[in-house]
Structure formats: C-alpha cells, structure tokens
Symmetry: C2
Subunit: 362 residues, 2 copies
C-alpha cells in the first residue's frame, strides 16, 4: 500500500496540536499553521486554511481531541459544526466524536462520579477521542483507495477526463475522491489526459489540483470554467469526475459552485457524469438537494483574485460557494461501499443497510 500514499498532505496530527497546510497560499508558498485549540481549528476551517469535505471532517475530529484537553467539548462540537455549513462530513465526524464523549459521560454517570471527572478519566477520554479521530482519518484514506479502484474501472482505455475544484490529497486524508480515481486510472495505464477547471472564485483547480497533478506526473491542462462546454464539443471527453460536499437521500449532490453547470453540459454532450465521495458524504437524513444549506461566502473572493482587485470599486457581486446537481444528471455515485447507480433513492438506502464493508473489495 505504501506506493499509494499521496505526495501531499493537508494536515498532520501531532498529539498536542494539529498542523494544517495553509492552502490559501499554495502553490506559491508552503506554510504550516499549528492549531493548539479547537477554536483555531474552527477559524482555520472557516477561513479555508483547510478545505475539502473529507479533510475538514478529519480536522474537526482532531479539533475535538484538542477541546477535550481544554475541557470544552460541548462548545467545540457546536463551534466546529458552525464553521462551514454545506459539507456534511463535518457533522458526520463530529457526531462520531460526540458519541465517544457521551459514552464517557454515561460511564462516569454509572459510577456516580459524573460531576467529578478525575484526571484519569479525562486522560482515557482523550485517548478514546484520539483513537476515534485517527480511525476517521484512516478510514478516509482507505476509502479513497477503494473509490479509486472502483471509479477507474468505469473509465475506458485512453480516458480523457474533466474535473473541477480540488479533490485530491489536499481535500482528503488520502489520495482523494475524484482525484483518487484519476490517480488510479493513471497508474492502471488507462488515463490519457486531464482537463482541470481552474474553479473560480477560489481557484482550487489552478492552485491545488494543478499542483497535485504535477506532483503525481499526471498529464493535464488547466482551463477556465467557461471553456468546459467548448472542449466537450470539440474534444472526446470520456467522463466528468467530481467530488461532493453532501449527497442527499435521493442522490442530489452539493459540490463546489460550477459542478451543476458541468453536469448540465455533460448531459447535453452525452458524457457520463460521476460523483466520487466516501460514504460519510451521503446524508440520508437530508431528503433532497433542496434541503442542503448553500454557503454564501464573502463577495470579496469574487471581486478580487489573490488579494488583487479585478473590478471597479464599489461593484457588487454574488458568491454562492456551492451548487446542487439533481440526481437525474448523475450517471453513478462512486463510494467506498460500491458504485451506486440510479434509482438513487432506492439504491443509496440499500447500500446504507448493507453496511460499511459489504462491497468494499468488490
């Protein structure tokens, strides 16, 4: 498995702190930020030092470990959840951490010492929370490998794929979601070329995906988001591969702004559109895409590029950071539990009941 480790990492757990690679400065600068409190993890998440649905889930889990040391778990669970609204992985990871915390609370209550948790108990709780955070990270890394294999199998020989945003090792704990498929297809000798959308306004494509593709020596060209349709018409694109921030029970998928556009264009050009995401991104409690909260971020990110103004002073803008792709436009959802095909309402629920590992190695 060692050869499948990515060359880039976005976070490192150091027992007393969480180190985060400041993705706002990439690819020009490589700066690591050290978070010693859950508050600093929350603000780093809000400000996009760390980003990507699976990665912010992992970071939040470690944030709770730091909170345990600060004796501020309830505040941390609330504060970390509020950092970004759209990606469900954040909520999912925090719920796993909360469960561990509650178990400890109950154990202590059983012993009649709930009000007086001693140092030893706190130590065991921290250890248990840390083990859970490490499990979340490890599972995500393994899930990336499963999705990579499953997704690569869907691609034809000499595949030319198109992808948006960053879904690689900077966005996850491992090789990535959509990027993991690209990586696997490349190493399986099936991949001819990648068109990476620059992904305005935040330029995750040109800053981060281009960086990772270069590191992994995968052949690619950057394009502006506006060029996707033209290339779908004039080149032979085999598939569109995207990640996800939340997948509703009916398959509707929230992802980076511009994803929905790609899905409509893919349908028009009869190109398969695949969503690649770990099972932690599937949110069966959200019935459809309409119930997914779409984060509106600062319009400054639209009016500026890397701090440089590109519009006249006083100009107004919009900045929905995500959009929702209706499941009707999705050919298949590649998860670590297997490839889910339409009808999604039915098949996502089925896969849910089958549990984590039933098709992991299918």
């Amino acid at each position: 498995m060692s050869q499948t480790l990515p060359k880039t990492k976005s976070f490192r757990w150091k027992k007393t702190s969480l180190q985060l690679l400041d993705q706002r400065l990439l690819p020009q600068k490589t700066v690591w930020i050290t978070c010693k409190t859950w508050q600093s993890v929350a603000s780093a998440t809000r400000e996009m030092v760390v980003r990507g649905a699976p990665a912010i889930g992992c970071a939040a889990a470690y944030g709770v470990v730091l909170a345990a040391k600060q004796k501020q778990i309830p505040q941390a669970l609330k504060g970390l959840l509020a950092a970004r609204p759209t990606a469900v992985n954040l909520q999912w990871a925090l719920e796993r951490m909360e469960k561990i915390h509650n178990n400890f609370g109950m154990q202590n209550a059983d012993c009649g010492i709930k009000e007086d948790i001693n140092k030893k108990n706190q130590k065991s709780e921290i250890a248990a929370l840390e083990a859970e955070a490490i499990a979340i990270e490890t599972e995500d890394r393994l899930s990336n490998q499963s999705m990579g294999r499953l997704g690569s199998d869907l691609l034809p020989q000499n595949a030319i794929v198109m992808t948006i945003c960053n879904t690689g090792s900077l966005a996850t704990a491992g090789l990535g979601t959509a990027f993991g498929v690209i990586w696997s297809a490349h190493h399986a000798g099936k991949l001819k070329h990648v068109y990476a959308l620059e992904t305005r306004p935040y330029l995750q494509g040109s800053r981060l995906t281009a960086y990772e593709l270069q590191q992994e020596k995968i052949p690619f060209e950057l394009i502006t988001d506006s060029m996707a349709a033209h290339l779908m018409k004039t080149e032979k694109i085999s598939a569109i591969l995207v990640g996800a921030d939340r997948i509703a029970a009916n398959g509707d998928t929230a992802n980076k702004i511009g994803t929905y556009s790609l899905a409509v264009l893919a349908q028009h050009h009869e190109i398969p559109f695949y969503v690649v995401a770990p099972w932690s991104t599937v949110d069966l409690r959200t019935p459809t895409g309409q119930q997914i909260p779409i984060e509106e971020r600062s319009t400054k990110e639209v009016l500026e590029v890397q701090g440089k103004s590109i519009a006249p002073k006083g100009a107004r803008a919009r900045h929905p950071a995500f959009d929702v792709t209706p499941s009707i436009l999705i050919r298949a959802i590649v998860t670590d539990r297997g490839v889910v095909k339409p009808p999604f309402s039915n098949n996502l629920r089925l896969q849910h009941y089958r549990g984590p590992f039933s098709t992991l190695h299918s």
Copy 2:
C-alpha cells in the same frame, strides 16, 4: 439623440492619429495610447488594447487612413486583417476601405496616371478613406441604437438578464450590442437586474462591463462564469443577452469563450438566448460555425490574472478565446436590420436581400 451617447469611449479619431483607450488597464487606470501608424493599430488590436468586434472594425478602418498617409495601404489591409482571426467585422470594415482604395486606383488608371499618383490624388484618397471610416463608426453607433430598441422590446417588464464579456461602448462605437439592449431596457424602465459574468480569462465582465454598468447606474451583480447555471436554476432569469464576433449563414454564432456554455444552460432552463450584433457581424460567406476560425491565445492569460501567477510553475493550459454556439440554441438574433428568428438560414438571407434600412425603424 444626445442623451443616448454612452459615457465611455474606446477610441477617438484625431485626423493624424487614432487614440485608443488601453482596455487592458481598466478599471484601475485610464490610459490613452496614440497610434500614428497602421502598424501600431494592428499591434494594439492583437494585444487587446482595443477589443470587441465592432470596435476593432472601426479601429482598423482608421488604421487604413493612417496607412494611406504612409503609402502602405496594401500592407495595412493584410496586416490589420491578420491581427485577430475570429471577428468578421475586421474583414468587413477592411473590405469597405479596400473598395474606396480600389476606386481611386481605377480612376487613376482611367486617367493614365496609375503609376504616378500625384499629391492631390493622395489627398483626395485620404479624404475619401477618412469619410468611409467615419461612416463605419457612425453607422455602428446608429445600429447600436436600433438594436437597443428592438432588443428591449423582446424583454418582459422587470427583466433580470445575464450577459457575458463586454459588449458596451468599450466594444463598439456607441452604446453597445447586448449592452445597448440592457441600456435601452433600463431607460425604458423595464430592467430589474443584470448578472454580469466576469468572463475569464480576460475578465472583460468584471473589468469592463461592471465599469460601464456602474457609469450608467444600472443595477447589477458580478458573478463568476461558474455561477451562471446555479442562478438560472435558483433565480428567475428573463433572458441571456450576448454579443457576437461572427454569425455564419446558418445562424451559428462565434462569441467570447463561455457563450456556448451559457446557451446550453439557457436551453436546459428554458430561458431565451438572444444574440445581439450589427449586420456587419453576419457573414453569409461562412456557411456554418464549423468554418469560423477560433483564435487560440496565449495560455499565459489562463495561468495568470493581471500579471500574477495563479498556477504552479510549468503548468500547461488551453486558451481558445472564442466558441461557437449552434443556431439551434439561439431564440433570435437582434440586428440593426431587425430581429431575425429561426429558421436562420432562410431568414438571414432574406434580411440580406432586403438591404440595410428596410426594418431599421420597424
């Protein structure tokens, strides 16, 4: 008519020189460049000091006047035409100038002095060429007004429109093409809101259209190109308005990269998609969009934003500067000769035979 003059101009004819507003520096700086030779007009066109299909047609016409003074008309006709390949207005304007030049050549030949054009003859030719260039500019300004009225009539009350690139006074000799429609609808009290696409890579939307909308006090918000689909789904967009660089005989339309994407998205959301262009943009000699040459510009414009690198060193990119929208996706083409509806092959030819002014004031 004075109230319909735009607040911004992109070029000024000064008898011995053509002044061009350097649009690469807007909106931060207002710098005028003085061209005293046709060569400087050609390089300013190539380097996008001046841009917009009708505006580069006008600039080229004045470039030929300068060339007459340099006694380099044949070289200028060739050199100016080569500056940008996609917009047919350049060719159209140069052909009008060439006709004047040829008339003089023939007159001189009739008098038997072809080989010895005296000073007086050169002076008359320069005057005739200058008059033709001024006519080209004046006709474009008037055509903008006609299109503005005709296009505005197509919009509903409280219209919310979306537009790409810059099609205003910086791109034409007058109020603009698609922008002229926006202007007219605004002054007719019909316009509620404009969503202006920033138009990567060259950012004509955020740099130029936002500037013009602000000057004209028209309510608008800037969006990235990737947000168009999301807004078409979540807001009530009345129409998409775009300009054109060349319209083939069957209605296929070349325009700024990203236009084709908008057209596909508009069809998916059942939003009318209107092309607005003067008749000089209609090229009946080009049968379909397939024969329109698409300019590939420097990939530096994709890898940088206003001179600042946004991608890792050595990253490769694509930069098709235009795309072709098949006529099947176009609801109507608003020209100064009237609103042309499908079937375009038939109706564009009909309008051609009807001549310039038949429906100008319809």
